[in-house]
Symmetry: C2
Subunit: 210 residues, 2 copies
Amino acid sequence: MATAIERLSKTQQREDTRRKILESAAQVFSEKGFYGSVVDDIVKASGTSKGAVYFYFDSKEQIFLSLVEEYAATVAQQLQAAVHRSRGLVAQVEATVATLIRSFQANRALAKIVLVDWLAAGAEFQGTRIALKAMLVEVLRGYLDRAVQDGKIAAQDTEMAAYVWIGAISEVVIRWLNTGKPTPLEEVLAPLTRLLLSSVGLAPSPAASG
Amino acid sequence: MATAIERLSKTQQREDTRRKILESAAQVFSEKGFYGSVVDDIVKASGTSKGAVYFYFDSKEQIFLSLVEEYAATVAQQLQAAVHRSRGLVAQVEATVATLIRSFQANRALAKIVLVDWLAAGAEFQGTRIALKAMLVEVLRGYLDRAVQDGKIAAQDTEMAAYVWIGAISEVVIRWLNTGKPTPLEEVLAPLTRLLLSSVGLAPSPAASG
DNA sequence: CCCTCCAGACTGACTGGTCAGTCTCCCAGC
DNA sequence: GCTGGGAGACTGACCAGTCAGTCTGGAGGG
């Protein structure tokens, strides 16, 4: 009785172990960085074994990359959904920033990995990282180019502006990771968005200014 | 004859070796990162020996920290001098940004170490890093607070704005490190400064807008 | 001047610890 | 009784740091 409920099927169990390893890895990597972490830390934290870890992943490096890529995919999806719900350029920018900030707030460990550890990880990691950043740059740049086309802002180096925005957002999140300020991170949303928008010459939407 | 010229005195030779090790270390660390670099790389690049390296430095970590601290001291001095020469708030902000950008341009390897590798280095390195960043934040925040006091800009979270500025500058330099764009880096100066100033509600000085 | 001798800069083979990844064995479920 | 998921002891490469020894400039005595 209740077999189907209290027991996990093999497939479920399998998924479970894999996810547990990944979650523990996120914790460990975010605390000690990639090089400071030892595979045995992940083994211990996940309550599994080295055999299990190397059954699901080819290498320590691949664990890290899986973590980052799965998170990036999730965020990309959230971004797309958020932007889809928004009408108007400014609202879309606001939605993008809000989605990023809220996601980092909800996933502190992954935020640290993506924003801090990933940067300085070896050359093997850089390709994926730079490509993903370029994607986000393209999105932001698209908004800015449209604003220029619509005559809402003056012509300018929109690519650089996109990098500036990303740098600004990252730094604010990194401050939160390092110092805990502000708690909750979400508090930066209104002032940060205002700063970003006015840097290129846009005004925040009335709704978001409170 | 010419003994004094062609031969180095012991003290000079000593300084020379130390500097050579430090310069090679900057190169090696900037290419491979802290963890990817092996002390023997530095030995090889500097044309000295492991003994020499450990004669001048206690550890690999200390080489890294010496590098960063000496560079930070140089930049701090340059910043102070540049600001001292400038009259007016906006001019001082412009001088600060210009000094940072020019210094990074002139010291690519050190820029990479400070902006990229230092971030993700182990916990041992974080104290110094966060303290130094906080110093720069205080300087920028000082400008902004004065601007608020003088009624030049609206009251706002000036500390966050300072972090935003630092993040923006870093990211632009990191893009240059990764992609080489723009060459020379200095080209970002005018548009970047304009972006930063207008983010808080200031206008660039007429001289710098060209 | 020249020679002696020493401090201290420098060399590089070596060591000891660490850790990613492997291998063998085991067990639960089919 | 067989198979696939898992346990954990083990291996070997790697590398920070050591140390016993060499070399050299130059101070001081003759």
